[in-house]
């Protein structure tokens, strides 16, 4: 056996070991979520449940207002995606298309805001939303800012728009389209992959968002899933069940599921989006 194939085998061993370590918490979570509570505590621990208890999922999702939280989350996510796509497309087209001396300067300013620690702006923003707009305990603070374009997505789209064949855009202009029409009829249809990436990231960002709901939501009826998951399971469940790890795991997995599904269907979008930021940044 040559040194080359020994190296190969070593590589596969490393990859498999890392995969196991990475996935172990998730596998154990799935296993726990399907166990009887008594089996959760059994010594020695079992990897595969003796009795697979699917009803844990039903129980987990009915012990907290899952549907209500899902609905709140979907409102935030839907408005955010609409806001992000519309505003970022406009802004990115502005940066990609029009030459003027402000362009480069403002683009740099926009990129540098990505390095700002969020907490510096989030305290005054909190005061503005709650004291002056009366938006405490509403979902508005979670999605309204999406309509004002976020630097990361604008950057991503600008890079993409700059790479489009300019002849097509010019042809549309010669045909008498104004800039909005060029954007809507030519640029947007050509940019579906990039727009999908932005939509996917926006979905993930708002589905996963924890700090936003934590700051703004007080009334349990208004919670999003991410907040409701930790809040509800941390308070009432303990009194009800002791620590019902199996139900907590089931609920956590359900909250993860859409992200996992989305990831498998749109893996390319995720990877391209992440890649673009890293390389050009």
């Amino acid at each position: 056996m040559g040194a080359r194939s020994v190296g190969r085998i070593l590589i596969y061993v490393c990859l498999l070991a890392t995969s196991c370590i990475t996935l172990l918490p998730l596998f154990a979570t799935i296993s726990t979520s399907l166990k009887e509570l008594s089996e959760v505590y059994v010594e020695p621990p079992t990897m595969v449940p003796h009795v697979i208890k699917w009803s844990n999922y039903y129980q987990a999702l009915t012990t907290f207002p899952f549907v209500k939280y899902l609905f709140n989350t979907l409102i935030v996510v839907a408005f955010s995606i609409v806001g992000t796509l519309s505003s970022c497309t406009l802004v990115a087209y502005g940066f990609a298309r029009f030459r003027c001396r402000w362009n480069k300067w403002l683009f740099t300013a926009m990129l540098s805001t990505m390095m700002l620690p969020g907490i510096v702006t989030s305290i005054p923003t909190f005061i503005m939303f709650t004291r002056y707009l009366g938006w405490y305990d509403t979902l508005y603070p979670l999605w309204v800012p999406s309509f004002f374009a976020s630097p990361f997505y604008v950057f991503l789209l600008t890079q993409f728009f700059r790479g489009l064949p300019q002849e097509l855009l010019d042809a549309a202009r010669i045909d008498g389209c104004n800039e909005l029409a060029v954007l809507w009829r030519v640029v947007v249809p050509l940019s579906k992959p990039a727009l999908a990436t932005v939509a996917v990231f926006s979905f993930m960002g708002h589905w996963n968002d924890y700090l936003g709901p934590l700051l703004y939501l007080q009334d349990p009826d208004k919670f999003t899933l991410a907040l409701g998951l930790t809040r509800f399971l941390s308070t009432s469940n303990v009194e009800l069940y002791g620590t019902a790890w199996n139900l907590m795991m089931a609920a956590s997995l359900v909250v993860m599921l859409p992200i996992v599904v989305l990831f498998f269907f749109a893996q390319r979008s995720f990877i391209e989006g992440i890649t673009l930021t890293g390389i050009k940044g």
Partner: protein, 296 residues
């Protein structure tokens, strides 16, 4: 104004408005509030440098502790994350590896999961009695594992482990960077008789250095602001956590603002963090001139 300039501004107006309302305005407001005593029910009272004085003189005993804990976290989590993500990318980039896309998926997935859900999972993993980790230790080694989350050092180590678990995002960026290493440089090095290590050290690393630098800066800025995972551990069921060992800087700010209702002090702390990030980033850029190579 030229037509093109006018069009430019009308297209970027959504961002420009947001920039003013959500960035510039709040930055200025926060700078002003840093010099005031402000509880959200009342109006801000100017107190001059009092907040900064109380920070520096350590009147808030949590401050220096939170700085120490956060820096320790950054120093552990960022290099470990970089090493793991770079190693994974290098291995996946080896020619002719089978199942590359499956491994890539597996490694990438954890970094995308909602912190609320993964936080609950990890709080179970580290649970001293029923958690996955200590039960594995019990089965494999036959001894009782430590109380991970109550221990003043191990609690922080747990946070680092969770952070490294999300190495996949950095790995994807490294993989893309590796695609950009020019093949002719590799071939030239091979012809000159460079072995694998020499090619890695003198071709791959210099070519990849801008990407390493990017991941380093972003990792550092992110790690300095670690918040959610510690907050979730603190408030989640069945996990008791050593609060002072994981009282990260932003968690301390959060508590001052939203628990103690001391918004002035919280803004002062936030500005200290902002300036610290600026200085650390500038230092990194300064240091980077020695090891980061940008192509022509």
């Amino acid at each position: 104004m030229r037509r093109e300039t006018r069009l430019f501004f009308s297209f970027i107006m959504p961002w420009l408005t947001g920039f003013m309302v959500f960035v510039v305005g709040p930055m200025l407001a926060s700078l002003y509030l840093a010099f005031t005593r402000y509880s959200i029910q009342s109006s801000p009272q100017w107190v001059g440098l009092l907040n900064f004085k109380s920070i520096v003189l350590g009147w808030d005993p949590a401050f220096y502790r939170s700085v120490k804990v956060t820096l320790l976290y950054v120093v552990l989590a960022v290099p470990m994350g970089l090493i793991v993500s770079l190693s994974a990318a290098l291995v996946l980039n080896v020619q002719g590896i089978k199942g590359r896309s499956i491994f890539r998926t597996v490694f990438f997935l954890p970094s995308l999961l909602p912190v609320a859900a993964s936080g609950i999972i990890w709080s179970w993993v580290f649970n001293p009695q029923y958690g996955l980790l200590n039960r594995l230790i019990q089965v494999v080694l036959g001894v009782d594992g430590p109380e991970w989350l109550m221990h003043p050092v191990l609690a922080l180590v747990c946070m680092v482990i969770i952070s490294v678990w999300g190495f996949g995002g950095g790995m994807i960026i490294f993989l893309a960077g590796l695609q950009g290493v020019p093949r002719h440089l590799m071939e030239a090095a091979m012809i000159d008789g460079a072995n694998a290590w020499q090619r890695f050290r003198h071709v791959t690393i210099p070519q990849l250095s801008p990407v390493i630098f990017f991941n380093l800066i972003m990792g550092m800025i992110g790690a300095l602001q670690v918040f959610s995972i510690a907050y979730i551990f603190r408030s989640s069921a069945g996990s008791e956590i050593n609060a002072s060992a994981t009282n990260f800087y932003v968690l301390n700010i959060f508590n001052h603002a939203f628990v103690n209702d001391r918004f002035g002090l919280a803004c002062a702390l936030a500005w200290v963090l902002f300036v610290a990030i600026l200085i650390l980033t500038a230092l990194q850029f300064y240091g980077s001139r020695r090891w980061v190579h940008y192509g022509s």
